[in-house]
Amino acid sequence: MVKKRKLRSLVSMKQNCYCLIFALTLCVAGVSPALADTSGAAQAKTIEAPKDNTADVAANWTIDPDRSSITFGGSESGNKFQGKIEKYEAAIVFDPENLEKTAVLLTFDMYTAKTGNASYDGALRGAEWLNIDRFPTAQFKLGSIVRQSGGGQAGDVQSADYTVTGDFTLAGVTKQISFPAHISITDRYQAEARASFVIPRLDYNIGRQADGDGTIVSQDIAVNVAIVAH
């Protein structure tokens, strides 16, 4: 199951960005302009409890595993394969108005990386490929996130394209990767993030001895991330 981990940085962020987050939550929630015209301080006082609650929701996210998927695919001997990582843990702090405070740590349980093809799955676990007995987890640790476009709101949706950079550890090898992601916050309780990028398996020495030139298994492994978080 996805575990929710509160990061310590959240506390200071909450304090620093008190007004900003509050304003955001008002906007995202579609609060009427008349209400928004009211003095911020006065408003904050009157709805003290909900403010704390919504600030937490906007910053510290929990993935909905039933509506999220992390898949990978490639080709083997001319046949396409598609796999899924069933289990992963995520600690996500994200606020589109405070990108520098963003913190993402995804830890993937590689034993749950499966294609559904017994032959592929057996090979995948083996020493020459993902070497899962030795490296049971893969990890993505966010370094930076930069907004590329968007950021405005259309109705209740706040949506933008970002460039995400971070350290990805797979099969014992850590590489910095960078990829585009689209994140939309559909209301103050739900965010959707999508990213598609390619992992060159040989960067991580995956299958180097068995198939170092991609004759059998494609060198590029496509990764699709679709996350719904609350």
Binding site: G78, G122, A123, G126, E128, Q209, A210
Partner: protein, 201 residues
């Protein structure tokens, strides 16, 4: 020689030369058909269209390991049963040659699947064998932590291939001799192993 004569011949000789048991006949032909299929598949599967190669390899591995099991059963049968003797009409060198070919075939029935199993087990590709898609056949354990898997696997591959050609040569001799006995010597030896004459026994 037509079918009538074949049956007549068999009838005439069956008292002199007892037939192989139904178990032995069944094992012989299951293994024979499997080996011929394995040789054809083994010699062609590398040239299959890429998208069919995985299936071809899995089928070859599944059938080969089946032959290994059947051959063990067959060798146990062979060691625990008295087989029909060679006819008196056979010359000594013919008996010796037949015996050498038979022993050679028994050795290959074990050596071919074992070298194949070893080459798969040491292959750096690491594809498991899923026996006819049903369950995972384990890899031989000795090769899990070998340093240079590719060199070892390729060596087993070379041996496996060489044994296959020896097997083809022995099959040609075996089948050639059986046909010679049937159609030139008319000594009824081949009928002892033919399943469709079982009821006349």
């Amino acid at each position: 020689m037509n079918d009538k004569n074949l049956v007549a011949d068999h009838g005439r000789f069956s008292t002199l030369f007892p037939r192989y048991t139904n178990t032995a006949i069944a094992l012989h032909w299951m293994i024979a058909i499997s080996i011929i299929a394995l040789l054809i598949l083994g010699l062609t599967m590398e040239d299959f269209p890429k998208e069919y190669q995985r299936l071809a390899y899995q089928s070859h591995k599944s059938l080969g390991l089946t032959v290994l099991i059947l051959s063990i059963v067959r060798i146990v049968w062979r060691l625990t049963h008295k087989v029909p003797p060679y006819p008196e009409s056979m010359k000594l060198w013919e008996k010796v040659a037949a015996q050498i070919v038979h022993v050679g075939l028994y050795v290959l029935m074990l050596a071919l699947p074992l070298t194949g199993w070893a080459l798969v087990s040491s292959s750096p590709l690491g594809y498991p064998t899923i026996w006819f898609g049903l369950f995972e056949w384990p890899a031989l354990p000795f090769f899990a932590n070998v340093e240079d898997k590719k060199a070892i696997s390729d060596t087993f591959g070379d041996v496996h291939g060489a044994l296959a050609w020896i097997c083809i040569a022995l099959i040609v001799m075996h089948v050639g001799a059986a046909l010679k006995h049937q159609f030139i010597n008319h000594d009824g030896i081949m009928a002892r192993m033919l399943p469709w004459l079982r009821k006349e026994n």
